[in-house]
């Protein structure tokens, strides 16, 4: 597996150990964690929708993250406008997602989870190879426009990159939009009907295959959006979606599979804990370990932190924190 750039830039100053606990850094890292949480949410929302409604385990969701980054990034490069890249990525991913659904995933709905895992695993291999064939091994650097590239002061001596704030705002808007879409619109009503009882909804005249295609398309757009907006920070790389995919699995397991609300809360919690753990765990460990032990155990334990969290939550609540009502 190629080495991926971390999803979150390390802001830690070199002498971080001594003054790491000060509130400026804490706030910055908290915001970084929140921003990671937003990215996770965009991934987890599509994953949990697809799973909740179609009962489909879709590993290829990670590929949508990657394709969104490469397609959107290329559009941004060709047109010279990052915003245009984001805007045009939406219909592109909608189409790509629906094509994948119609050609492959549709045959997998009646199959068991094992078949779904394997077939979508095959899809990942294909998409990674195809991306490598088209864009080459080096990946893609997507520069930010100047007006997004600055740093803004948040008061109290705290400064923060504008673009990360933009990511947070986009994510919150999408979360709100999803809430409206699922809760208040006709298509949302159909989605909920399909989720709670697919057969009955079909019997009442809902075009289930079409509904599934649309839901899958929406999921692909959300994943693509996540991949594209993180790219100016990390750059687009082959297989970039896979680590995020597994984190998103952790998120939806914690949140309760099928629950968008659970996915949102669990995403933010996971993002914040992971980021704060990476920044401050060695300091915390210093309280009860000798310095050299704390320094070497810190990175190891912090990379395991969210998995330990997941294991703990599942130990007490095997269905996750917010299992959706009525889902089996």
């Amino acid at each position: 597996m190629p080495r991926h750039p971390r999803l979150h830039a390390d802001h830690r100053p070199p002498n971080g150990l001594r003054n790491a606990m000060d509130y400026v850094l804490l706030t910055e890292q908290f915001l970084n964690g929140f921003q990671l949480g937003i990215i996770l949410f965009l991934m987890a929302a599509g994953l949990t929708l697809v799973f909740g409604i179609m009962d489909l385990v879709n590993l290829a969701h990670g590929s949508m993250f990657m394709i969104g980054a490469f397609v959107g990034g290329t559009i941004a490069f060709v047109t010279g406008s990052f915003v245009l890249g984001v805007v045009l990525m939406v219909p592109a991913m909608l189409v790509i997602g629906m094509v994948v659904e119609v050609t492959t995933l549709r045959t997998l709905y009646p199959r068991d989870h094992l078949d779904q895992v394997l077939a979508t695993f095959g899809l990942i291999l294909f998409f990674n190879a195809a991306t490598r064939l088209i864009w080459g091994l080096e990946g893609l650097v997507v520069p930010l426009p100047d007006y997004l590239d600055g740093i803004v002061s948040l008061g109290f001596g705290i400064t923060y990159p504008v673009y990360r704030i933009v990511i947070i705002v986009i994510g919150l808007l999408v979360a709100f939009g999803l809430y409206l879409l699922v809760g208040k619109t006709k298509i949302g009503m159909l989605i909920r009907a399909g989720a709670s009882n697919r057969t009955m909804a079909g019997a009442l005249g809902v075009n289930i295959p079409k509904l599934f295609s649309i839901v899958f398309g929406i999921g692909a757009v959300l994943a693509g959006l996540a991949g594209l907006i993180i790219t100016p920070i990390t750059q687009a790389a082959i297989g970039m979606g896979e680590d995020v995919l597994i984190l998103a699995f952790v998120v939806i397991v914690i949140g309760g599979i099928g629950s968008i609300r659970g996915a949102f809360i669990a995403s933010i919690v996971t993002g914040v804990i992971d980021t704060l753990g990476r920044s401050f765990l060695d300091v915390v460990l210093l309280l009860f370990l000798p310095a050299n032990a704390a320094e070497s155990a810190g990175p190891a334990v912090s990379s395991m932190l969210i998995y330990i969290l997941m294991a703990a939550i599942l130990f007490f609540r095997p269905q996750g924190l917010f299992p959706p009502k009525g889902a089996g």
Partner: protein, 317 residues
């Protein structure tokens, strides 16, 4: 068993004969390269047999099984790094640590079912993967070279001899199939298979399936740990990549390809899967463009794997 004339069984026998004769035939054909390649295939075969134990017979889809390969291998690697090269210490410890990790992971993940189980086994394995990536002392991403193979302290048996290494792996492969044959046909195996088809019913007649599943999970983990320690010795190298989730996915595929819940299925599955990878990778660096869709097609059209295909063909004739 018994129906030796069936095409699936003929194919199995063919694979075993190839494995058995390679160190003799390959050098004669000036293709010594295949000795290492097939040794590697057999190690994956052992890992696949161990996965089949819980996945094929128990219905437990573990998406993190490669982690035990990594743990077995890293135990050998780390001990060797600290100067402990005796196999009498390394091997029991590698198997023990694999079993212990399987016990903890199994205890957590077996509380859940279905897709939760798949994702949790994946996430737990990923945790160990990242642990190995962050272990700077032991090479992080770049892996850890093992300077000396496991030593048995006797003159007539050394893993530095290529043929000895090869046949040691071969014996372990046969042993793993034998162990799973004994297990599957015991009372234990009956409970496992019964729990796979109807967990609630088995529990309602008073058999606690959790204990049985956990035991199977631990045995499978230890068996895969053996594959790991053999791999560490064969390659003289361990790296986090050995337990990346790609490897776990490939393991599942080998089992499915060969035919789940068949004794030798995982062995032939590993053989076909790796042989095909080897051939395609020789054609182009973009071989996954062919291999990926091939896997999708196998899932869609060839449920039951090779054993299923060959059996169906035979039934039609």
């Amino acid at each position: 068993m018994g129906e030796l004339g069936k095409p699936a069984n003929i194919f199995t026998a063919l694979v075993l004969v190839i494995f058995a004769l390679t160190p003799i035939v390959a050098p004669a054909l000036d293709e010594s390269f295949y000795v290492i390649v097939f040794a590697r295939f057999m190690i994956w075969g052992i890992a696949a047999v161990s996965l089949n134990l819980i996945m094929g017979y128990g219905g437990l889809i573990s998406f993190g099984h490669a982690v035990y390969l990594g743990i077995g291998a890293y135990t050998v690697g780390i001990l060797a790094f600290h100067g402990v090269t005796s196999a009498w210490i390394q091997w029991p410890l590698a198997i023990g640590v694999s079993g212990l990790v399987a016990l903890v992971f199994g205890a957590i993940s077996l509380r859940t079912k279905g897709v939760y189980f798949i994702m949790i086994t994946l996430a737990l394995a990923q945790m160990i993967y990242f642990l190995s990536v962050s272990a700077e002392r032991y090479g992080s991403d770049d892996g850890l070279s093992i300077l000396a193979r496991s030593e048995f302290g006797v003159s007539f048996f050394s893993l530095n001899d290529k043929t000895t290494m090869y046949y040691t792996i071969f014996v372990f492969l046969l042993a793993s199939v034998f162990v799973s044959w004994r297990l599957v046909n015991s009372r234990f195996g009956t409970v496992m298979r019964a729990a796979k088809s109807n967990d609630t019913r088995v529990q309602s007649i008073g058999v606690g399936t959790y204990r049985y599943r956990l035991t199977a999970f631990v045995i499978a983990g230890m068996m895969c740990g053996i594959a790991g320690l053999l791999q560490a010795n064969l390659e003289s190298f361990v790296s986090p990549d050995m337990m990346s989730w790609h490897r776990s996915g490939e393991l599942i595929f080998m089992v499915v390809l060969g035919g789940m819940s068949t004794l030798f299925g995982p062995v032939t599955g590993a053989f076909v899967f790796l042989m095909l990878s080897e051939i395609l990778a020789g054609l182009t660096i973009h071989w996954h463009i062919i291999f990926g869709p091939f896997l999708v097609l196998v899932v869609i059209f060839a449920r039951g794997g090779i054993a299923g295909l060959l059996t169906r063909r035979a039934d039609r004739d």
